[in-house]
């Protein structure tokens, strides 16, 4: 459940919530790191739950010169008051037996906090795309009916591609075939989306087809895509790379190489 890091409970009413799904390539989580790091968001609380594998670390967004220790936990909430933006970062895998419980926890927290809309950043296995999906952009979106009511025009203007439904039994050429939503590698994305539809929550999913590997470019792709909609960054910025990479991204592929190796 949500526990405030200050003595007062923050108010999230009318805020936009951006959160990642723990999914293939950790793309959503990397994208959220970029948002928190660039907008210098403040931590306002923790999601303290038995559903995540425990981990702890020093401040992932600190500048290298900072010597202070600030402990960070597997799930934390950051806010930027002037942009009415809240961000939930999830840093650890969800325990497999607890994924339904975690989804329910999130949905009830989202509803209780009064967010005006929630955006889930996610990803799906690129190798499981069908022929049609292989040929177009790797970005997709999903929107609950509740959010569609208020954002239909914006989404039309952006020209985004909605996530296609897949036949339940591919290969069977039955015109009445059952079509269903399938997000392989997306973790709890599909569950969150269907739960939000059922409970009439305004929720959108932005997802990217990708594979495991160096997913930093994928994170930039999805965060720029999100920025096209939410306009999180100052548009007049002249810098080509507008997003600030956090210090926790160093040594992603291991330590320095021992000189004796060569």
């Amino acid at each position: 459940m949500f526990i405030s890091s200050d003595s007062s409970t923050p108010c999230f009413k009318d805020f936009t919530l951006v959160m990642p799904a723990v999914a293939v390539g950790n793309v959503g989580q990397l994208a959220v790191d970029l948002i928190v790091s660039t907008l210098h968001m403040n931590r306002v609380g923790y999601i303290h739950t038995d559903c995540l594998i425990p981990m702890a670390g020093n401040d992932p967004y600190a500048n290298r010169q900072d010597n202070t220790v600030e402990l960070h936990t597997p799930a934390e909430v950051y806010t930027s008051d002037e942009q009415k933006l809240a961000v939930l970062q999830i840093r650890a895998p969800i325990l497999q037996t607890k994924s339904k419980k975690f989804r329910q926890l999130l949905v009830s927290w989202i509803r209780a906090s009064g967010f005006s809309r929630t955006v889930v950043l996610s990803s799906s296995h690129a190798y499981q795309r069908d022929d049609q999906q292989l040929q177009s952009t790797p970005l997709r979106y999903l929107v609950t009916p509740s959010l569609m009511k208020t954002n239909a025009d914006t989404l039309k203007e952006l020209g985004w591609k909605e996530m296609e439904r897949m036949p339940a039994f591919p290969g069977l050429s039955n015109p009445d075939a059952e079509m269903r939503l399938c997000i392989p590698g997306g973790g709890i994305t599909k569950g969150l989306y269907t739960d939000s539809c059922e409970q009439d929550l305004p929720l959108a999913v932005l997802l990217l087809f990708c594979s495991e590997g160096d997913n930093i470019p994928d994170a930039f792709t999805i965060v720029n895509h999100l920025n096209d909609w939410l306009h999180l960054l100052d548009e007049h910025s002249q810098k080509t790379n507008k997003w600030k990479i956090p210090t926790s991204w160093s040594l992603l592929f291991g330590s320095g190489i021992p000189p004796a190796l060569f």
Partner: protein, 276 residues
Amino acid sequence: MATFFGEVLSVYSRAVEEEEDEEDENEEDKQIRRELEEKREVRLLWNPDLTASLKSGDKLPCSDLIIAVGLNAASFMSVYVLSSAKWDRVGHASVWNERSRAISSEDSPCIFYRHKDNPSVLICLVTGYIAEDQQFQWTEKVFDSLQQRQLSVTVLSDSFVAEYKTADYVCRGSAPFLRSLHTSGFSDQPVCHSLEQPNILTGLPAAVLNHCQVHRIAAVVYQCYSDVIGPDSISMETFKPALTKLGRSIQLVSSPNTDILRKVAKTTDIQSNLYI
């Protein structure tokens, strides 16, 4: 994914397990799940007088809790602290998982000791494996039993230097070394460098730190990065500075108990049968 030799492997994402369709679960599956969950429940078993006290609603008074996780940390505490014979064994945890089948108190992976003269000082030795889905539960149950006002927690833990990420490879040559991480409630000065990003703590030390951070309890973890697989006396000595701040209750014995040291070192002697 197809490999070079043509066989097809199923690829597991490092991030994700496929979400199972829970609607397909029948009553029998649910029953099995429930029984497994019950079996994996962590149970804390205290001595009868403490159990009675807890049952009547009084939590155990505790000003200092020291948790030693891992063989080096636990051996250090056994050799340098518990050997002074001023400690009573007051409880243990019953933990069942894929690597630890301990049910009785003798082979329990987790044992609690209390100081005879100062009963608000508790030590916990964790020598066995506590699974990822049990770590949060263990932490909640332990802290639920303790009164938490003015509580100060110190965790000693082991790790391998191979897991320590640094751009400067030479730094690894200085193993064993200590790194620390503490909660915002911890106002003292740690005795070593803090753990630099991108390194993180996992396991029981992380679960304890998370709990203490969220509940504003003063806690510090000292992790020893060692280049030796089993417990060794040099790695154990690295922990000494970590206990200096704890005053008179945790006095280190001046000369380590050689019997215990020998027993600990023997378990990791590499046996060679080349010259038998």
